[in-house]
């Protein structure tokens, strides 16, 4: 069995250089690489077409060429995607597919199409109003349109049985990653937030069969060398950060302050792996159903759905995770998050659940300033523990 350290070395390398991985894969297989924008394009479709599906990631590089296409008051992901396109870093992609509707993402896609005139950029807007009588039908129609354009691009049909096989493989991958999440909550595996990000983020890039093998090995080896968690460590839920992954050094800092992350709804986390696609019947029906189900499972502020509440989901998830507080990671200029944040804030205040908002930026992060805020936040939670103990019969006796 591959040792855990070696597995994480592979995953970390993919996360650090997704395009490098894609280039090597393409050289090795001679097959197409199809990129997609986050967060709702089903990669299964491109996989069934024989390509490597790759979700475009925010790069570490400072923005340079991208400044000529997009203003600085855009989120880090969109600016980085455009910057990568302008620098030629997306040259490995044979096509880019997306269906999302965030206004900044639309702007970025438009700019990417201009920057990459020889790359086919396929778009069909997914309905973002999730509880209309026609949402399911329109979703299916949208996925069919995307599939039609994909078939036009590759010059052959994407067969239903290939779709079902890809769906099954992706489901296994999601299930294995969810198992790691379960084990972390139950204390059966010691995974840092950085490591969990490596697991999920690399799945957005790697050959899925190769990735599955590594994750299953992680699950199997999990009980080995399990260190005892620090007793006073504060159990935290991380929320937010949609299209882009939080910087690993930020995650390290949070845990370094005396917290353990026990759950999240990050896109580069549980949000991405939350929901499986049905493996029976018409795959386009299954993808449409999946699109609706995942927003009920883990509500997303980029969608509108009056009958589900993200704030209620968060409070419930935290109860199940026995989390004592939540850090909201908001990518600066992320409009959907800015819209929904007051709802979360109000619900958490009403529930007496502590939370801390941290805004992140592409270029700079005042990590030391953030550390002070996180330390104070954790201190506050620890004091609440003391108050809670004092208010219990046991505490009164003590």
């Amino acid at each position: 069995m591959t040792p855990r350290s070696e597995i994480f070395e592979v995953l970390a390398k993919v996360c650090a250089d997704p395009m490098g991985y894609a280039r090597a894969w393409k050289t090795r297989t001679g097959r197409r690489v199809i990129g997609s924008f986050p967060m709702n394009f089903p990669s299964e479709m491109a996989h069934a077409a024989g390509a490597l599906p790759l979700i475009i990631q925010e790069a570490e590089d400072p923005i340079t060429a991208g400044h000529g296409l997009l203003f600085p008051f855009y989120c880090g992901f969109t600016r980085s995607a455009v910057d990568q396109a302008a620098k030629g870093d997306l040259a490995v992609l044979d096509a880019i597919m997306f269906g999302d509707h965030c206004v900044q993402l639309l702007g970025a896609a438009d700019a990417v199409r201009v920057a990459l005139p020889d790359t086919r950029v396929i778009f069909f807007q997914l309905i973002s109003s999730m509880c209309d009588p026609w949402t399911l039908g329109r979703s299916k129609e949208s996925f069919e349109k995307l599939r039609f354009e994909l078939e036009d691009f590759i010059g052959e049909p994407v067969r239903d049985d290939a779709m079902r096989a890809s769906i099954a493989l992706f489901n296994r991958g999601r299930q294995a990653m969810r198992e790691l999440y379960r084990m972390r909550v139950e204390g059966r595996v010691a995974l840092t937030a950085r490591e969990m990000q490596y697991v999920v983020k690399s799945s957005m890039v790697m050959d899925r069969a190769e990735h599955l093998e590594l994750v299953e090995a992680l699950v199997a080896s999990a009980s080995e060398n399990l260190p005892q968690p620090e007793k006073r460590a504060v159990r935290l839920h991380l929320s937010g950060h949609f299209c882009q992954a939080p910087k690993p050094e930020l995650l390290d800092m949070i845990e370094g302050c005396g917290a353990i992350v026990v759950g999240d709804d990050l896109y580069h986390g549980y949000r991405y792996i939350s929901t499986d696609v049905g493996e029976e019947g018409n795959p386009m029906d299954s993808l449409a159903r999946w699109y609706l189900d995942r927003n009920t499972g883990v509500p997303c502020p980029t969608r509108v759905q009056n009958d589900v509440d993200w704030d209620a989901f968060l409070l419930d998830a935290m109860r199940k995770e026995s989390a004592e507080g939540m850090i909201v990671l908001m990518a600066k200029f992320c409009e959907p998050h800015m819209y929904y944040y007051p709802e979360v804030k109000e619900a958490f205040e009403k529930a007496g659940m502590p939370h801390l908002l941290i805004e992140t930026e592409h270029e700079s992060m005042a990590l030391e300033h953030m550390r002070t805020r996180v330390e104070s936040f954790l201190e506050l939670i620890k004091r609440r523990r003391g108050v809670a103990r004092a208010n219990t019969p046991e505490g009164e006796v003590a």
């Binding site: 008051f73 206004v103 409009e335 800015m338 819209y339 944040y341």
Partner: protein, 448 residues
């Protein structure tokens, strides 16, 4: 803090159209009607984006266009209390300032109506018109292009405790896929038009549920007849501004947005645009200029900075620059009256909603803008990089590049915002516009 303007200040450098003064009265009458709505027992609908107001007006529902209310507050410099209330609730400053201002009105509204045991309990100051906005009985979301619109409506619904019925019309972006794609043509256009029209038919059923009455289609046909006529007159008047000197500028057309966008669709709007068309025609006949010493002709790309409308009109006039056209004014607001069939209006209304100036991707959008620049013979483009309106800023760099490479004209950018004047930097605008005008002068000299 913005530095004081260093330009000389002759009063009234801009020769504004006289006929547009009527807009002020019509706008005031309209908002008075809105503020009286509850006293008169009327249902109130909040909406943003697309001009669905004729659907509501026909059904005797009072309509409140969120952007219009925010713009009105900003133009009157009364946006402060609403924006402060929004900030207090947790809406961050980088959020669309139209939405932030309007949501602030909703917060204020709740605050003043809820009991004293509420965290929102307060008493409005007499001059705080943000709190006068009547709460909605229904919300309809029909927003082209910008995701912010749908989320703004959803958050409004949540602010009112999800007790207000809400209806969503999804208006997809025209990506220009397929070889037949173009402005108002191609398979994508046809399919998207049908999709939007179907939803509008459903929206009418929603309206019927709210009013409890059959929908008065005859009334809608009558109103859309007025809209079509007003739109034709407006476009005719705009077209006359190809004349040199230009008889009217973008700032006149900005003042005229309310009459075409959200005022009652009665014969008043036909009369308004008849008067505007007649005055423009008369100015063309006599050679009367909107900018008395017109030396430069500019295109304005970006949404209006409502806090600074009069200020900008004067500023450009003092530079002898006639801002003859713009993306916001010349590519929106019932822009294609030929598509409207008053006898069967739904499809044409939906198609006009799809022609929001941002709802076409850059290949189509850029062609349209280049066409306008050529039509009005502009020397340059001024981009208003609207800080919180990414819908408008999205294609700006691409438009600028095409303007330079395709038309060889100058461009410049300044930062501002729709309803939050703290983003506006006056000195930046001065320096950049002056530099652009100098470059235009140099180009003219070198042409001799």
């Amino acid at each position: 803090m913005n530095a004081p303007v260093t330009l000389p200040k002759p009063p009234g450098a801009a020769n504004k159209l006289k006929s547009t003064r009527m807009a002020g009265k019509l706008v005031n009458d309209y908002w008075e009607m809105v503020w009286r709505a509850k006293e008169e027992g009327k249902l109130v609908c909040w909406y943003e984006g697309s001009s669905i107001n004729p659907f509501l007006e026909a059904a005797d529902i009072v309509w409140v266009h969120g952007e219009a209310y925010s713009a009105m507050l900003a133009a009157r410099h009364q946006e402060g209390p609403a924006q402060a209330a929004a900030e207090e609730r947790g809406y961050l400053r980088e959020l669309c300032s139209y939405a932030r201002t309007h949501l602030g009105c909703a917060v204020n509204n709740q605050r003043h109506r809820n009991g004293s045991d509420s965290a929102f309990a307060d008493v409005p100051a007499d001059e705080d018109i943000s709190a006068k906005l009547p709460p909605p009985d229904m919300i309809i979301s029909a927003y082209a292009y910008c995701s912010t619109g749908q989320q703004w409506d959803e958050m409004t619904s949540r602010l009112f405790g999800k007790k207000i019925p809400i209806f969503n019309v999804s208006i997809p972006w025209i990506w220009a896929s397929g070889k037949d794609a173009g402005y108002c043509r191609g398979q994508e256009w046809e399919e998207t038009s049908r999709y939007v029209a179907r939803q509008l038919e459903e929206m009418v059923k929603f309206i019927e549920e709210q009013t409890g009455k059959p929908y008065p289609w005859d009334r809608l046909r009558e109103l859309m007849g007025n809209v079509k006529k007003a739109s034709e007159l407006r476009l005719e008047a705009m077209d006359m501004c190809r004349a040199k000197p230009a008889p009217a500028t973008l700032f006149d057309w900005s003042v005229s947005i309310a009459p075409i966008n959200q005022l009652p669709c009665t014969t008043d709007i036909v009369d308004y645009f008849t008067n505007v068309r007649n005055e423009v025609a008369e100015r063309v006949r006599t050679g009367e200029a909107a900018v008395p010493k017109e030396k430069y002709r500019l295109f304005f790309d970006g949404i209006m900075n409502w806090n600074k409308l009069g200020w900008l009109a004067e500023k450009f006039a003092r530079y002898d620059a006639a801002v003859v056209a713009g993306r916001y004014t010349h590519m929106a607001f019932w822009q294609e009256p030929d598509l409207i069939d008053p006898n069967n209006p739904v499809m044409g209304m939906g198609q006009n909603y799809l022609i929001c100036p941002n709802n076409h991707s850059s290949p189509i959008l850029i062609d349209l803008i280049m066409g306008l620049c050529e039509k009005y013979e502009v020397d340059g483009i001024v981009f208003h990089a609207t800080r919180t309106c990414r819908a408008f800023t999205n294609p700006m760099f691409m438009i600028a590049q095409e303007a330079t490479s395709r038309l060889g004209i100058q461009t410049t950018m300044f930062e501002g915002d729709v309803a939050d004047e703290t983003f506006y930097k006056d000195e930046l605008l001065n320096t950049r516009v002056e530099a652009m005008l100098e470059a235009i002068d140099q180009k003219r000299l070198s042409a001799f």
